[in-house]
Symmetry: C2
Subunit: 333 residues, 2 copies
DNA sequence: CTGAAAGCGCTTACAG
DNA sequence: CTGAAAGCGCTTACAG
């Protein structure tokens, strides 16, 4: 069917070893043999087959990023960082999209077991420490992005700190009833952001009013949707008295909340979380996660670990940065 | 390092052939052997290695979707359809994200040559017929999504027809100066949508005014961005007389255009193209592409071709459907 | 039902 | 610089 190393060895009148050397850029090949082989290979359309190479080398030159929700601005930007950093290497990248509906852990485990890739970038997968330990036993280079485990190198953002700072900003600007739009509690970032929000309030000597923490009813993607944010903001508008500021769990929800405010023609300052591209466009204030940077850093760590598997586990936790735009303009006085 | 079929064969006191049979669900294995092997395999954490299997079988049970811009609502929904349809098979899916900055053709070619997957779904890659022919010579099952080639099975949407119908809707609603927001001309869908727009105008006996076709200056992603749409709409507002309706090349641009209208507090009816999730949310009228359906159909075709490589090439062209929402409400009278 | 053996397409010491 | 040969971890007729 497809042309193999044997075909081109025969044509060139050399051994397959020599052909292999040419394609592996070994310098132990005469210029003459090299050019001849290259010419024939080109003519016959030869290219080494990834699976055979992988098996023989016990290396696939493949890196796999595993992610649950690909259609997500956060992931997109992380991915760009990953690609940037990988561009200068000879690794290929593939993306493995797992389903939120099935067992996350089993899907990740399956991916590792198949052993297709040399290294894995597990993104936005939130497991229990005990599950991470199981994955550790597969003894494969793996970097955790957007979560934390003592077992693996990781790069993440401090959600607690981000929520804390956003809330604190409102406190310091003199707001009294600061609401929060959350999302599904089963999502770890959601829990952390709620925690940061509460802490900031407590540290400011305020009493936390649980009824000010609301989520919409829409539970797709754990509630990280415009619709959820819209619904949540409508709930806020039904509160009495009306909260005077709101920290929102994610930008995509904040966009929905923003739309609700437009529809109601009532505005309170809001701060989102993420800094997706649309946020800049819509003038949404937000806690920015350095997504691209996170992708880059993750690849950097993975490459290092591929070099030296024994090195100490390292964690990088970025601090989100408060980006002020139109949606908090009335907050400054 | 990792445990192989030999390890577990030794432990179980059988040959590797028997172990292999167990994992291939061959029924030619005694129940006794099967349970023993399964137990040992589980204990030792054994799982067949994808590359070795792939080489031995000459099949990888892998399908690869190749796509330039992953961060794109169109692709996301197509992907969901692909995953739906693949769920009931034993194929794994991986996504290969190619870069718009480099040679598209070479990246696709490279992907085919490596031969990782059994079949490919090439999405939103617009090549010349002569390049498709080159790819054909690799003789690998390949389905074209969102483009057309006589060489391969394909599933696409009729952009010309969609643009035609959107424009015609405006014509029939009595509008006179119908503008169009386009994008970079190097994009094939853009060219087709311009064509459909012009044809509808011509068929209605109107003179096409090229100056009514505008694009923003922002050229990221070939102009398929909110920003581009925003800029384009600002240009439209500077026209004299003001156009009274506008067909927009894509929803994401239409969202930008919509924002421009809000900022200017001036509204003209607009119709986008795609029907991304945000469109429903923002009440944007649009020409809907059946993205999910397209993904499903593509997998269906690929599976069929995997069965029978010789079957006749088949093309499915969906007609986009006009979805009317708020953004054309003033168009109905 | 089970095993010995050849083969998948490559890489890589080893010897020359 | 080059070739013969073993090996990567599996599958699959073939024979029993």
């Amino acid at each position: 069917m497809s042309v193999t190393i044997y075909d081109i060895a025969k044509q060139a009148g050399v051994s397959i070893a020599t052909v292999s050397r040419v394609f592996n850029n070994s310098n132990c090949v005469s210029e003459k043999a090299r050019t001849k082989i290259m010419a024939i290979a080109k003519e016959m359309g030869y290219h080494p087959q990834a699976m055979a190479q992988g098996l023989a080398r016990k290396k696939s030159k493949l890196i796999s990023v595993v992610v649950p929700v690909i259609s997500n601005h956060f992931f997109m930007e992380v991915l760009e960082g990953i690609q940037d950093e990988l561009a200068s290497t000879d690794f290929d990248l593939n993306i493995h999209n797992i389903k939120l509906s099935d067992s996350i852990f089993e899907q990740v485990e399956y991916s590792l077991k198949r052993g297709m890739a040399e290294g894995y970038l597990i993104t936005s997968v939130h497991l229990e420490e005990k599950q991470w330990k199981v994955l550790k036993s597969y003894n494969v280079p793996l970097i955790v992005i957007d979560d934390f485990s003592t077992e693996f190198d990781s790069v993440s953002v401090d959600s607690v700190e981000g929520a804390y700072n956003a809330t604190q900003y409102f406190v310091e600007s003199g707001f009294e009833r600061i609401a929060m739009i959350s999302a599904l509690n089963r999502s770890k970032p959601v829990r952390e952001r709620i925690l940061g929000y509460k802490r900031a309030l407590e540290d400011a000597g305020k009493i936390v009013d649980e009824s000010l923490i609301v989520s919409g009813e829409h539970t797709d993607r754990d509630g990280f949707t415009e619709k959820n944010g819209y619904e949540a903001m409508i709930k806020i508008f039904n509160m009495n008295p009306l909260p005077d500021a709101c920290f929102v769990n994610s930008d995509i929800q904040a966009l929905g909340a923003y739309k609700a405010m437009q529809d109601m023609q009532t505005f309170i300052p809001i701060i989102g979380f993420d800094d997706i591209q649309l946020s800049d466009f819509f003038g949404l204030s937000t806690m920015r996660q350095p997504m691209r940077e996170m992708g880059r850093m993750a690849v950097h760590k993975l490459l290092q670990r591929l070099e030296n598997r024994e090195q100490k586990v390292s964690h990088t936790v970025f601090s989100p940065e408060l980006i002020l735009r139109k949606s908090t303009e009335m907050a400054t006085h």
